[in-house]
């Protein structure tokens, strides 16, 4: 049994199939080798990595035959594993008083969670207020 693979998320399992990581002489982890990408008929395109400054930036290799293999929409491989999601059932407990609820936006204390906007990474969102 492959415990590492069993405990990995679908995304990490998928990315491990594409990239092999290693640590270079400076101790920086970065992608050094690319395996199979896109569908098998296509020529793999090497991934790009940023300069070795402690942060690895991967650029998704584009498919050369867009619209024909079904993998041009995003970068998920068409054989990527499906995901299962779940949510716990909400319990009736810990209510705010009505005036606090109006400020929090909910009467349930357990649903009053902090949400912080983060910058959007998509290129088409260059004018986005959260960028």
């Amino acid at each position: 049994m492959n415990y590492r693979n069993e405990n990995a998320t679908p995304r990490s399992r998928y990315e491990d199939c594409i990239y092999t990581r290693s640590v270079n002489q400076n101790g920086c982890r970065r992608c050094v080798q690319q395996r199979a990408t896109e569908c098998e008929k296509h020529t793999p395109i090497p991934s790009e990595t940023s300069a070795c400054r402690g942060v690895t930036r991967r650029v998704t290799p584009p498919c050369q035959r867009k619209g024909k293999c079904g993998s041009d929409n995003g970068y998920l491989h068409r054989e990527a594993p499906i995901a299962m999601v779940y949510s716990p059932v909400q319990q009736w407990k810990e209510l705010y008083d009505p005036h606090t609820a109006l400020q929090a936006g909910t009467v349930f204390k357990e649903l009053d969670l902090p949400f912080y906007p983060t910058s959007c990474k998509r290129k088409e969102c260059s004018n986005c207020q959260y960028r």
Binding site: Q90, W92, P98, H99, A101, L102
Partner: protein
């Protein structure tokens, strides 16, 4: 935090909005949960909401299109 509900218009409106949110949120919860405590809370909060609306309408007039069923009050069309 609790706001003291005085008789002024703003505090009454704030009180009505608070109770309205509590009623609405509880109804959303009851859409997917069967809970006697939640139903009791809903009935209690609905009664408080209606009472607060009545208090407001007695002082300041109807709060929505169907409010204030007192037929003696008519809109004065004279400018």
């Amino acid at each position: 935090m609790s706001i003291q509900v005085t008789g002024d218009r703003h505090s009454l409106l704030c009180h009505i909005a608070s109770l309205g949110l509590a009623v609405y949120d509880t109804i959303l919860y009851l859409d997917t949960n069967s809970c006697p405590e939640a139903r009791a809370f809903l009935e209690k909060t609905k009664a408080e909401y209606k009472e607060a609306v009545c208090r407001y309408e007695e002082k300041y007039g109807p709060i929505n299109l169907c409010g204030h069923p007192d037929e003696d009050i008519h809109w004065c069309w004279q400018l």
